[in-house]
Amino acid sequence: MASISLKKIVKQYGQQAATIPGLDLEIRDGEFMVLVGPSGCGKSTTLRMIAGLESVSDGELRIGERLVNDVAAGERNIAMVFQSYALYPHMTVFENMAFGLRVRKTPDAKVREQVEATARALGLEPLLQRKPGELSGGQRQRVALGRALVRNPDVFLFDEPLSNLDAELRTQMRAEIARLHRTQGTTSVYVTHDQVEAMTLGDRIAIMNGGRLMQVGTPAELYSAPDNTFVAQFMGSPPMNIFSGQRDGTRLRTAFFEIELPTATAAALPTELQVGLRPECLSTTGTAATLNGRVEMIECLGHEGLAYLAAGDTQLRAKLAMEQLPQTGTDAVLRFNPADLYFFDTNGERIAATSVEPAGTALETAGA
């Protein structure tokens, strides 16, 4: 068990611009940290640097108290689960799980004991004498987990371990990984591009984009208080609607609505800004403010549906109950609580302390 500390970590290949220009991240002992972001954002590179599979160009990487910049991967006492499982195809499940122990010259009796205990915990006992080629995808992933577990490492690293599995298995393995973390309590770093995995597994989530850390926080924090439009749109499905707005005195105008802002809020806002509103914060009932738009398309998802609204060039998605879904081609009026609005500057940074409080009281709707 160990904490992981990244201080001003830089990764640079040759003379090109740095892939990761300087990353600071503290992962606490026993924490489940999820690194999430679009492909090419540097999350896998970060994980591979922690693993020791990529060198650190600059900065300090510590596991526990130990500076590990120049410590070989095999000496860091880290176990990693790969996206491709990376099992040894010519060895049986038992040999796969025993490999790391045998490399470390563990006595045979102890190897057998540890492998069997881990196999029992994961339900792998009937498969011990099979080779990876004879196993299903889910079983292989389970073996990969077992191989990581059996050595009792200080840190677990997961590199998109579930992306090769079908939807049902993925949910199942996700629960399994969560359960393992609860029982073992080992510090874990988990890379994914799937925000649902990130939200459900992570104690905290680090969102990365273009090699930079966008925000770190608990799933609830990231959802309710995003620092910028990137985080706002990354967390939540479908993503937060963001559209441009203009402030004129205390009035806020957007393509969809026009409302009166409280004086204090208005004072903190620039005249040109971006406004965010989550699709799930829209409804056809309720009080507060209204917005208007033309319904371009609707998608039914079962007990709820998505309505795509347009006003001019601006588009917006609303998540509504099935019976609330408007007809395609009509003009719809939806309601929202102005307290659910988020304000960002034109660079996409959240404008601090700008939630419209208290909800709805100081506001009147100006019919758009």
């Binding site: 599979l53 860091r76 790969f82 990376a86 040894y88 195809p89 490399v103 191989r147």
Partner: protein, 287 residues
């Protein structure tokens, strides 16, 4: 449609006959018991059909005399042994060198890597005969390795190396790096990864390169005939040549020797067939 099929069948039959005819002739010669190139003596004034019989690759009588003679009267067994030792040693040395070189070229980045690979390719573009004189000077005059197994083993394993390295490098490239990284994280050293992970996974490609090395050494004639002066040190191809020269025409021995010399190759091919197919197409399709 059926006519077309018949024609197609006929065409294939003719092609097969053209390919097999010389082979059958050699086999027949070997079992004919005589030393003459002709299998059947056609009497004077024979009819057209009797004369035609001389063209069939069938001996007048079947006999193992040529094989017996070859193995008892001639030093053929001795040559076979020389060839086997040289070919086996070439295979072992060649494959070992090729595996380690190919693995390094595939997995590690070091100065001169690209150029080294290109150089290996370039070396294949010169005709082999071009190297005869330099090789003779190096092996026989400088290293004093003429008339030794070692000299031939060194030359064969090195000349087979460029092909083997490229073949194996291509295969190592197609093996997922993840597997080796997983082993690295478990604390295995690069040497352990090479022996315990990479080599077992590269078996199909190793089979192909081993076969290639073996055949290079087994069939080679020119270098062996230049390096080896003593009859007791001849390899089979060199020895066989002396059955048919300006002063003798022992076609029976020659044919029997040819049959015997092909046997190990045929057996090897059959045994390694499974690997050959997967090895030669390696890397073409992932997974």
């Amino acid at each position: 449609m059926t006519i077309l099929n018949w024609l197609r069948g006929l065409f294939i039959l003719v092609m097969v006959a053209i390919v097999l005819y010389p082979v059958l002739w050699v086999v027949s010669l070997a079992f004919s018991g005589g030393q003459s190139l002709a299998l059947v003596s056609v009497p004077e004034g024979a009819s057209f059909f009797e004369a035609l019989r001389a063209l069939l690759p069938l001996p007048q009588q079947w006999s193992l005399a040529n094989f017996e003679g070859l193995l008892t009267e001639q030093p053929f067994g001795r040559w076979l042994l020389n060839s086997l030792i040289i070919a086996a040693a070439t295979t072992i040395v060649g494959v070992l060198l090729a595996c380690s070189a190919a693995y390094a070229l595939s997995r590690f980045r070091f100065p001169g890597r690209e150029r080294g690979l290109m150089l290996l390719l370039v070396s294949q573009m010169f005709p082999a005969t071009l190297m005869l004189i330099p090789l003779y000077v190096i092996i026989v005059e400088w290293l004093q390795l003429g008339n030794t197994w070692l000299g031939l083993i060194a030359v064969y394993s090195i000349t087979a190396l460029p092909f083997c390295v490229w073949m194996l490098k291509g295969y190592f490239d197609s093996l997922p790096v993840d597997i080796e990284e997983a082993a690295l994280m478990e604390g295995a050293s690069p040497v352990a990864i090479f022996w315990r992970i990479a080599l077992p996974l590269a078996k199909p490609a190793i089979a192909v390169t081993a076969l290639f090395s073996f055949l290079t050494a087994w069939n080679e004639f020119i270098l062996a005939s230049i390096f080896m002066d003593e009859e007791a040190l001849y390899t089979v191809p060199v020895g066989l040549r002396f059955f048919v020269s300006d002063f003798s025409a022992q076609w029976g021995y020659f044919a029997a020797g040819s049959v015997l010399v092909s046997l190990p190759v045929v057996i090897l091919f059959l045994g390694l067939q499974r690997f050959l197919v997967s090895g030669l197409s390696a890397g073409a399709v992932k997974g």
